[in-house]
Amino acid sequence: MSEQKDPYAALEDMLLRTQEQELDCDQFVALLAPYLDRRLEDAGLLELIEHHRDLCAECAEELLLLRRALEDRD
């Protein structure tokens, strides 16, 4: 599990990336499975998912872990 290195810089970065509409973590996690299976076609929703991934270190790590878990599944 990753550690946050410079919280102050992280906050500055988060402020720069802040936008009016964002997915929260619960919404992001609920969309992980269809996202990884490429079942989502709504470009706006995909942008929101990727924005959340870039903004939330915890959810980005969860996505990474899920990708790793499913490697060589078939």
């Binding site: 102050y8 992280a10 964002e22 973590c25 790793r68």
Partner: protein, 196 residues
């Protein structure tokens, strides 16, 4: 032959008899392998057993809500990874209280790079945190700066990670607007002086 998504759902109903036992054993084996692959040495064998069992329980509880928006195994693995990741995060931060994290966040504001290299920006941000945020927003921002993950802030606040994210999203929007207003006022100052 691999099961279809619908076959997983049907077989995992206890009334399915032998198919239930077989599906449960297959899913347990699948989840244990996927968790092992995802977390490697972070999980001991006993952890893997416990977290696989906990994941199976959660999957059963949510089975009726599986909408086939993904493959069943992707959906089930997402639940298992979330379960294991939450547990590892809880263990890592279990000895840190919300108050300690808030205090650490306040310390980080004066110790970290920006405060040393961009004192004006640091002062603006500190002023925005002090004056533009509600007490709950300030507490959540400080706890985050103090290194406490959102999920652990949520656990200590008896709310969901999504609710904490929304609280912080509102806080970021307020901070951003406040900093833009401060920057606008600073830029406007020389013009105002020239006008006098």
């Amino acid at each position: 032959m691999p099961r279809t998504c619908q076959a997983w759902v049907d077989d995992l109903k206890p009334e399915s008899g032998a198919a239930y036992s077989s599906a449960l054993a297959d899913l347990r084996d699948f989840l244990r392998r996927t968790l092992g692959r995802a977390f490697g040495t972070e999980l001991a064998d006993s952890d893997l057993d416990d977290l696989t069992q906990e994941s199976l329980l959660r999957i059963h509880q949510r089975l009726a809500g599986f909408e086939q928006r993904s493959r069943f195994t992707t959906w089930a693995t997402a639940i298992a990874v979330n379960c294991a990741y939450s547990e590892l995060r809880r263990r890592r931060h279990q000895h840190v209280s919300l108050e300690e994290a808030v205090e650490q966040g306040a310390v980080s504001l004066v110790q970290d790079g920006l405060a040393q290299h961009e004192p004006d920006r640091e002062a603006s941000l500190r002023a925005a945190i002090d004056h533009a945020l509600t007490p709950r927003q300030r507490e959540a921002i400080m706890a985050l700066l103090g290194g406490l993950p959102l999920a652990e802030i949520a656990r200590r606040s008896a709310t969901s990670q999504g609710a904490v994210y929304k609280l912080l999203h509102d806080a970021r929007q307020r901070l951003k607007r406040n900093l833009e207003t401060q920057a606008g006022a600073t830029e406007a100052l020389p013009h105002a002086k020239r006008g006098t």
